[in-house]
Amino acid sequence: MTKPNLAVDLNGLKLQNPVTTASGTFGFGPEYRNYVDLNRLGGVMVKGTTLNPKLGNPTPRIAETPAGMLNAIGLQNPGVDHFLARILPLIKDYNFKTIVNISGNTVEDYAKLANKLNVEGVDALEINISCPNVKKGGLAFGTQPEMAASVVEAVRAETDMSLITKLSPNVADITSIARAVEEAGTDVISLINTLLGMKIDIHNQEPILANKMGGLSGPAIKPVAVRMVYQVAQAVEVPLIGMGGISNADDAIEFLLAGASAISVGTANFVNPEVTMEILDGIEEYLVEKGYEDINEIVGKAIK
């Protein structure tokens, strides 16, 4: 039996396979070099990057919840300049696509980031629109179609690079946001970011996270993520990168069948540092067993 094709073309962004790692959960990649053959990954979404270095939130920054976890890291990162000068050189020669996840407080922040990151070695930008827009009173860019679109347009104006827009699940109608960012020129949509959640310590009677609220990720949110991928796949033409609770090959295949052309693994890296390799092997096995020659044959197959 010949090996099935695993390469996917996300509207011009070519990945050797559909397995990528979710922003904020895999560092810049090398953190996992003891556990993973980094050269086998399709893409790495690096830690959320901002214009200036950010210290992030006080600790505790994480809390465990049923089949999930909350995080409120607060976008700690060394800033885009440090990324370009010190980190990009270390990762740009790997086979994976380097995708920089960008975050800003204003539309201009995003535009500036895109401008700075318009360099060789960066293969795509992932626009994180889950950040609260400080100018508009803290409501996240990702919760209103017009705001989401304005960010994408501003970034689009700065670069011809592949643009991936990452949607927040904390909305009533994910398809309207998806359509808005598609019209605004995104090449790819990735989803989902974390659900807003909270955990209270009943002994000291206060929230566990120093930041009180945090983002819920992990297996717990998978049904919400699959549903949103399934809905968005039917609402837009651009390819999708699905994520949210993927912990093994079966989960990854679920997202592909729901309409994602590629997938990202987040929290599961913490539980099983080798999980991306297992997922890659598992997807291949599934294709072979079912007699598919090309991964693209199963994308969206569950949509009827």
Partner: protein, 266 residues
């Protein structure tokens, strides 16, 4: 180099109520492990059940390179450690390790003091063992709720160390807090190692600063990845920059830090 291994439990014993000692067969880990490092472990060999989800960081209490084993001592409090406590000889665990920067032993230094409180006694035993091997002068100060929780007590009693122990309930040694020994004028030291509750380590830090000596502290923070990727485990460490401090990753840049540089304020 830290790796992930599925390892077999050789033995598990409840050494005191809710306190367990587990010996694990993990030659690859034992071979590379250094004092002060930890493992990040899960109580199952298959990772099919997702609740509780995350691994648990536990310090190495003994490293036996010849036998290819590592020993941990832990308290079963929450859901994860309680599940760990149900394992028996022959069961498997899934662990990552050895992780972190361990304790360092400065050369040309002779008098060491080790101060451990509660579960913080656990990571200190390998340091003491090493110091004794190196023929150093060692004072071991340990404190806990009660005698049963004075971890490695029997081991220390058989070693060539000066041992002082305290318990809150007075069931062994001095009744009170371990830090009270520090006021004891008899204790002089060149270097100190400490691990325990933050309030305790702060007292030790103040004492160290007052006496102008140096030392190392092993810290605890909630951990996600154990690889340096997630930034959940950061602690405040003094550095020369504008604000005077920066966040360091407890998992891979720690868990051991120079005692004087730790900022206890979270």
């Amino acid at each position: 180099m830290s790796k992930r291994v599925i390892a077999k439990v050789i033995s598990q014993e409840e050494i005191s109520p809710r306190h367990f000692k587990m010996v694990i067969d993990a030659p690859e880990v034992a071979k590379e492990a250094k004092i002060g490092q930890f493992i990040h472990l899960k109580w199952v060999a298959k990772l099919n059940e997702h609740d509780p989800l995350l691994r648990r960081p536990i310090s190495l209490n003994e490293i036996d390179q010849e036998a290819g084993t590592i020993t941990i001592i832990y308290r079963a409090i929450g859901r994860g450690t309680q599940l760990l406590a149900t394992l028996k000889a022959g069961d498997q665990v899934d662990l990552m390790g050895p992780i972190g920067m361990g304790f360092s032993i400065p050369e040309d230094t002779n008098k060491f003091v080790v101060v451990g409180g509660g579960m913080g006694i656990a990571p200190l035993y390998p340091v003491v063992k090493k110091l004794v091997e190196l023929n150093k002068e060692v004072t071991v100060l340990i404190g806990a709720e009660n005698k049963g929780q004075l971890l490695n007590l029997a081991d220390y009693e058989e070693m060539d160390v000066e041992l002082k122990a305290s318990t809150v309930d007075g069931s062994y040694g001095y009744q009170g807090f371990v830090t009270e020994f520090l006021d004891d004028t008899l204790i002089d030291a060149d270097y100190i190692y400490t691990c325990g509750p933050e309030v305790m380590m702060e007292v030790v830090q103040n004492w160290v600063i007052a006496n102008d000596i140096k030392g190392e502290a092993s810290l605890e923070e909630r951990m996600g990845c154990g690889t340096g990727a997630c930034l959940s485990c950061v602690c405040k460490i003094k550095v020369r920059n504008e604000s005077g401090w920066d966040y360091k990753k407890t998992c891979i840049q720690g868990p051991v830090f120079p005692l004087n540089e730790v900022i206890f304020d979270d």
